[in-house]
Every structure is written in C-alpha cells, then in structure tokens.
Symmetry: C2
Subunit: 120 residues, 2 copies
C-alpha cells in the first residue's frame, strides 16, 4: 500500500523510514483480525473463563459459580469466545460443556503473565 492512499495532517519527516515501513506493513485484514483476537482476551471476565477452562472443561453453571456471576452474562461471554473460535462446546443432556479450542491461547497467556510479572 502506498502512503498516497492516506490523508494526513502533517508532512513526512523521514521519507526513507516511512517508505520502508509502509512497504513492510501487513495487510489491513491481518491487523483487524489481530486486534480482534486480542480484544477478545482483553476482558477480565473472559480471561477468568479461559483460565478456568484451561484446567478442565466445564458447564455454564459451574463457570458462573467459579466466577460468582450470572449464568446469562457467562453465556453471553461464552458465545463471544465460541464465535471467535477460542472455545468450543459439547452438549450432554441439559448441560453444555465448554472447553478451549485454540492452543495458541495458552501460549499467549503465559507470555502475558511473564509480561505483568516483569513489570512489577
């Protein structure tokens, strides 16, 4: 993508750096999906749910009890996580068991923890 596609309120100071950086930028779509992925992880409730599901699959009621929140709010969040492909579920009678679907989440989590430990 070229810088001429954009409208900006200032002049370019270091043309070479700007040109090179623009040339190396990823696709717009990649940035959007990346931000979307991190946005999903950027909520305390969802972080707790994923941390819990990392230990064992669980039904909605049990998750609600672990977090001390309503079934409805947990169900809404599980829907968000499912639509993002981060968790999946399995029905068993009246209950629905949720589990992690994406092995990257665990890795991202660990680095995230390293980050906040390092910043202490």
């Amino acid at each position: 993508m070229s810088r001429n596609e954009f409208i900006c309120d200032c002049s370019v100071i270091h043309q070479d750096v700007v040109d090179r950086t623009i040339k190396n930028m990823a696709e717009e779509d990649t940035f959007n999906k990346l931000a979307e992925f991190f946005k999903i992880l950027g909520d305390t409730t969802r972080v707790k749910i994923l941390f819990a599901l990392d230990q064992n699959e669980m039904c909605v009621c049990d998750i609600a009890n672990v977090l001390g929140m309503s079934k409805s709010s947990i169900s809404h969040q599980l829907g968000t996580l499912r639509r993002s492909g981060i968790v999946k579920c399995r029905k068993s009678g009246k209950e629905v068991f949720y589990m992690l679907d994406d092995n990257h989440v665990k890795e991202v989590f660990e680095i995230g923890v390293e980050h906040i430990e390092h910043k202490k």
Copy 2:
C-alpha cells in the same frame, strides 16, 4: 478465594470441579492486569503502531504518515502505549522518537499471527 464470597443465580452442578478450579484460580489482580495488557493490544491503530515500531523507532509525524491518520490521534495512542509500559520514547530537538519497550509484545504478536493464520 472461596465460592461463598460470590452471589450466583444458579446451583453448583459439579461441586468437585468447581472447588478445584476456584482453588487454582489466580489473584484477582493478575486477571485485571492480564486483561488490561491484552486490551491495549486489542485496537487496530495500536496494533499497526506496534507493528511499525517493531521495524524501527519513529517520530509521531512519520507514524501518522505510515498509518494515514492525524498526529493527534497517534499521539493519544502513543500516550496509552507509553503509560502501559509497552513503548518508550526519546526526545531529539522538536521530534520525539518512539520505540518498543517490551520484548514480550513481539512474542505475543507472533503467536497472534499464527492464530489467525491457523483459523483461515
């Protein structure tokens, strides 16, 4: 933390799983900081800025030109990233050069990209 501290609108179905999971949950503070960290990464503009700064340090004007956005909005976002300890800056005359401060960001990014590539 004990489950009795919480108010929930449903009964516990699998008491053993709930007890064990609660016992293994991290500190409230840890979840908050973790979510806060990912929330910072969960914005397209900030993702682009970090991707650009991963290549070279840059001044505000250059970043604005690379992204095709106003200096003001970029400055606001850089302030957010700086307060989160993810980028740092260095003054040189009228210009302020920003660079990555946290080596974890790069790792998290790479796994994030793997994630979205895997989901295609």
